[in-house]
Amino acid sequence: MSSTLVVQLVISGILLGGIYALSSIGLTLIFGVMKIVNFAHGEFLMLAMYVSFWLFHWAHLDPYLSMLISVPLFFIIGILTYKVFIKKTIGAPILSQIFVTVGLSIIIENLALLFWSADFRTVSLSYLSRPIILGPFSGLGLEEIIVNKARLIAFILGISLSIAFYLFMRFSYLGKVIRATSQDRTTALLMGINIDRVYTISFAMGILLVGIAGALMIPIYTVHPFVGFEFVLIMFVVVVLGGMGSIVGAVVAGLFIGVVEVFSGFFIGPESKQAVYFLVFIAVLVLKPSGLFGEKGEEELERIEAIGE
């Protein structure tokens, strides 16, 4: 096996992983702050892809520019979703938490079907159609390496977005407030923080992030009402491996899963690559529930709180 092939596999894997990371940050934020697994996250991604598609279709708006509309739009969608559905599940038993978002995903998926039919829709951008060719690097013994533009753009923007988001959470006052709330909501309340508002903003930001992901993904993937389901399971895997709630973890885990997927698709066979990452997922859950890359696991935090009681 040639070294070119290995490099090509790694690059393909990392680019794919960038997409996974990008689509998962919003989910990890929502879980990190309010301890809710949003089973409808894939459907929001689907909506986001549709928004970019229709803007392209009707207004000939470049998908990358459509973000300017998606961002405020999905922020508002996020706020409404929180107020109408999610708020009631905070502190509710686990069953309600899971199945309210499952119900929401059923509703969104089928509304999309109702309005837009099951047709597959794509956006083709002529300036993306030729890949970037790197090399050959005769010195390294490498032949040409091929990089897909749309995936590269998604990767770069995705990673920059993650970094920006991380910095926002780390250094902005609002970011600190959100982190404080996620660690101890009662005490945050005593500090005068309006928890409900923090939750609203966090959820809306999570949805906004997936709105951006949709715009970046529409040049790569076809959109149809069931596309969310194709991504949501991978998102769960990424978020859990990253240590639920950790942004850095989600990015690293996304890249990791992307590379695992491409390599197992190549070496084990494309039919079993999904099985491979699900097994990795179960193994990590069991052996290291705080995730492969989490700084401090969710479970551990819960224990701290329990002792504090």
């Binding site: 982190r179 660690q183 309340l189 005593l190 923080i193 401090k296």
Partner: protein, 236 residues
């Protein structure tokens, strides 16, 4: 005039009544202490005052304004700040971030800096560790941080729940020194404390809470002298 005046407060946890007809008052600039055995309802009282417990009846007037029924974050914004039992610092935030969150209701660019400087002057040990995750501080330092965080909000009334809990004697003494330093001026203190003697000596006003009712009140020294209190809480 009373800064805080509570009348006939009844508080429930679910179906269970924890406080019964509690009435008390705290005047501006005072230190008031609530003593009582475990599970007598001391922490419940503070939680009810800060709006964490919603099932309550009666009246809580702060600066002549009714607080009962307001959400907790609005009560905090009015300057009634609760330093909870068990410290409850944000373990993954740095010391400085904890303090910044403390100033949530009073944050403006300039103010934040000024308050930080003031607080670091009172608690030099926190300045030393300001970039460190708060969870890695020792118990005493965490208690200092919790109080400092409360001060960041420029409280009118600071309610402190069991500040000496689990601290070594030296640190307990230190905690009381700090309380001594911050009391007066603009800060009124409502203290819940198990270190009865220390706390009562230090208080202008004291209440004994027993099984959800106020059974004694008076100045700190009055209570300390009261034979009933000694019998009930000190076993002497």
């Amino acid at each position: 005039m009373s800064l805080l005046k509570i009348e006939k407060l009844n508080v429930f946890y679910g179906d269970v009544q924890v406080l019964r007809d509690v009435s008390l008052e705290v005047k501006k600039g005072e230190v008031a202490t609530i003593v009582g055995a475990n599970a007598a309802g001391k922490s419940t009282l503070l939680r009810a005052l800060s709006g964490l417990l919603k099932k309550a009846s009666g009246s809580i007037r702060f600066n002549s304004e009714e607080l009962l029924g307001l959400p907790a974050f609005e009560i905090a914004a009015k300057g009634l700040i609760h330093v909870p039992e068990g410290r409850r610092i944000f373990p993954l935030l740095t010391v400085q971030e904890n303090l910044e969150i403390g100033a949530y209701t009073r944050r403006t660019e300039g103010n934040l800096k000024k308050k930080l400087d003031e607080v670091y002057a009172i608690f030099p040990v926190l300045a030393e560790h300001k970039g460190q995750a708060a969870g890695s501080l020792s118990g005493g330092e965490q208690q200092m941080l919790a109080i400092a965080r409360g001060l960041m909000a420029e409280p009118t009334l600071l309610m402190i729940d069991e500040p000496s809990l689990g601290l070594a004697p030296l640190l307990v003494a230190k905690t009381f020194q700090v309380l001594e330093r911050i009391k007066g001026e603009d800060v009124t203190i409502l203290l819940v404390e198990q270190n009865v003697v220390r706390a009562l000596e230090f208080s202008d006003r004291a209440y004994a809470l027993e099984n959800g009712r106020i059974t004694l009140h008076g100045t700190g020294l009055d209570l300390l002298k009261d034979p009933y209190l000694k019998k009930a809480y000190l076993g002497l």
